[in-house]
Structure formats: structure tokens, C-alpha cells
Symmetry: C2
Subunit: 195 residues, 2 copies
DNA sequence: TTAAAAACATACAAACTGCATGTACTAAAT
DNA sequence: ATTTAGTACATGCAGTTTGTATGTTTTTAA
């Protein structure tokens, strides 16, 4: 294994570190995962870790960033922009629920992320990836008068929180159907008054 | 300072530890708060801490427990049981928003709590204190046919999540009025179809 | 081919956690 | 009242962990 270019070397070890870290962060949580374990699983030394990342938190941020991007990508792929705003919202919502069922994502994005990186940093990540498509869908639905006009940012935040709560509850053993029914009922409450 | 009974001694130091710990956990977060700092602020030694609490996490759990109980108490005090189910829900919701504005409560109960103690443990705390009154209010409202009939647990969870999201957003600088408007609109969606 | 810079590896110092052991204070018994 | 036992605390220690500083190897540029 020789003659590798420097960007290749960096990308490879960073990828190995992120992959190994993701697995351990998911399994044991951020706080209970030690950097010696991460580098052992990645097959490198702590020197490599601290060469590529400022600290353990920065590595975790990279893991979270990747995960949020993957979720957003899956959602946008399943629910591309369409003139049928309401259908787009429904499809997107279902895709989000589906994407968050990938093991570890709730822990990374909803539990450990806010505590380790701070709520503000997580909001920034969400704005850059996740909630963007939700906000755009809601904006389109308002434009089309399919739902009532409400403050866009606030609505996005609270709807997203409902979805996240449903996801967590389901993951912790609650009935899927019940949460879907409630989700649908509350969404129906958004229907435009005159429609 | 002599002739103090043993239960008095224990209660006093435990109270000092919990108070000092709360302040530091709020200021620096659970992970970045060291037990030497806590005991220094409390005016005791680490020996006392580990005599009364199994570990740092158990002390944090005691802080969280106290805080959740205080929030539940304030809410139930402001919105006692009444035949006017809808009014009770509104008053209770406002009281909850108010109670959560006490500095540190969002960090303790919504951010660090789930990460440090686990989501399951936090749910248990909420069921024992916080969401109990919300669930009872919703049940009464359904009974009175003031809101549509929906799975109670799921509805409680998702409504609670909406409130928490609104609280956090407001704390991080968003407009209060916008979130209140959205909260009201979504709650209106719960109105009984035939009402 | 040599100088540099980048990518790693190793070694170290500081801090923190939990426990084990030791001391003081309270409670109970004689 | 004195001794005994138990509880409440204090001190000291061992094992980890984190971040950095320094050393080595590999790639890049001259």
C-alpha cells in the first residue's frame, strides 16, 4: 500500500475514524466512549485523531454532520419538489420517519447531539440540512393556500419536534399507529379554514 | 454547631450538594462539571458526596428529580382540576411555559437530562411528575367531548414535545408571539369535529 | 536528490472518577 | 457515665481519560 496521495490518506483515515466513532457513539453514547477505543476500532492511533480533529467533540460533530446530511438526502430524494404541496409534505414526513429509523440516528441527532454540541449548534445543523425541506414544503403549502398562514419558522420547529417525539416514542416501544393517528390529526388542524 | 441529629446532618449536606450541583450543572453542563468543583461550592468534601450519592450521575438525577417536581407543582397549583377542561388545559399550558422559564430548567430537563440519564429514565420522571397533569387534562377534555378522541399517551407525548420545542426556541431568541400563535393553531386542530 | 510539509506515532502531564481506608460524630446499650 | 456500634464524613490512592508536545515516517516541491 504505497504511493497514496496525501488527500487520499487523509480522507481514508478520517472516514475510518468517523465510521468507528459512529458505531461506538451509538453503542455507548458520546460521554462513555473513549478515544483510545475509537482509534483502536479504526486501526489508527490517537495521534491521527488529534491531527485531523481538534478534539473528541469535533469528531462527534463530524459524525453528526454526516448523519444529518444523510437524513436530509433521503428525505429530499423521496419527496422532491412538486406542485402538490400537501402530498409533498405527507411523503416527506413519511420519509423522515423512515430515515430516522436507521439505528443510532435518534441517539446521535436527538439525544447526544444537543447535549454534547449544544442546542444552538444542533439547530444550525438542522437548518442547514434537515428542516430546510420541511420549511420549504410548508411555505409551498401556505402559498397554495392548502394550510393556514402561520409564522413559518415557528411552525417548522414545532412540527419537527412533534415528529421527533413520535419517532422517539415509537423507538421506545410505543404503538406506531397511535402516534401516526395523532400526527395526522394535528396536521389536519393546519388545514386552511376556507378549504 | 453540635448536637445535630443524624437525619438533620444528612439532609443538610444533601441539600447543599444538590443546590451547588444544580448551579454548576446549569452553568457548565453536566459533562463539564467536575465533582471537586461541586463539593468546593457546597463546602464539603468528595467523601460526603460519595457517601450520600452512588456517583455523579446519581447526584444529577437528584437535581433533575427536584426540578421536575417543582415544575409539576407550579403547574398543578396554577391549573387545579376543574370541570372546564379546555380552560384547564389552556391555563396549565401557560403555567408550564412560565415554569420552564426559570433559568436552567430547559438545560436540566430537556438537554442534559436525556443524555446523561437516558431517555427512558427521563420519560419515567416525566410520567411521575410533569406530564401527569397534561394527560389528565386531555383525558378530561376528551371525556367532555371538548376535543376529539385520540390515543391519550401519544397525544400527551406529542403535545408536550411541541411545548418543549416552543420553550427552547423562545429561549434561543425566537419570537414568543409566533410560537404562541402556532401552538394555539395546532391546539385548535384538536377541537371536536362536531363542536 | 534534497528540503519542506504533511500525516501520522509515541510519550507525557494534568485532571477526574470511584473506592478504600481512616477519623469524627451521633446513637444505643450497659 | 462509659463503652460499643453505627453513621457521617475526610483523606489518600489507583486507574482512566484527555489534550499536547515531541519524534518519526511518508509525501510533495524544489
Amino acid at each position: 500500500m504505497q504511493a497514496r496521495t496525501n488527500p487520499e490518506r487523509s480522507a481514508a483515515t478520517k472516514a475510518q475514524l468517523i465510521a468507528a466513532a459512529r458505531a461506538l457513539f451509538v453503542e455507548k453514547g458520546y460521554a462513555d466512549t473513549a478515544t483510545p477505543d475509537i482509534v483502536a476500532a479504526a486501526g489508527v492511533t490517537r495521534g491521527a485523531l488529534y491531527h485531523h480533529f481538534a478534539d473528541k467533540q469535533a469528531l462527534f460533530a463530524a459524525v453528526v454532520e454526516r448523519e444529518a446530511a444523510a437524513v436530509a438526502d433521503e428525505v429530499e430524494r423521496a419527496a422532491p419538489f412538486s406542485p402538490d404541496a400537501m402530498g409533498m409534505l405527507q411523503t416527506g414526513g413519511r420519509a423522515y420517519l423512515q430515515a430516522m429509523r436507521v439505528p443510532g440516528r435518534t441517539r446521535l441527532l436527538l439525544i447526544d447531539g444537543p447535549a454534547a454540541l449544544g442546542r444552538a449548534a444542533m439547530d444550525e445543523v438542522h437548518n442547514r440540512h434537515g428542516s430546510r425541506s420541511l420549511r420549504e414544503g410548508l411555505a409551498a403549502a401556505m402559498e397554495a393556500r392548502a394550510i393556514r398562514t402561520l409564522p413559518l419558522d415557528a411552525l417548522t420547529v414545532q412540527l419537527g419536534a412533534m415528529f421527533d417525539a413520535a419517532i422517539l416514542a415509537i423507538e421506545y416501544g410505543r404503538q406506531v399507529e397511535e402516534h401516526m393517528e395523532v400526527l395526522g390529526a394535528l396536521m389536519n388542524g393546519l388545514a386552511a379554514p376556507g378549504a
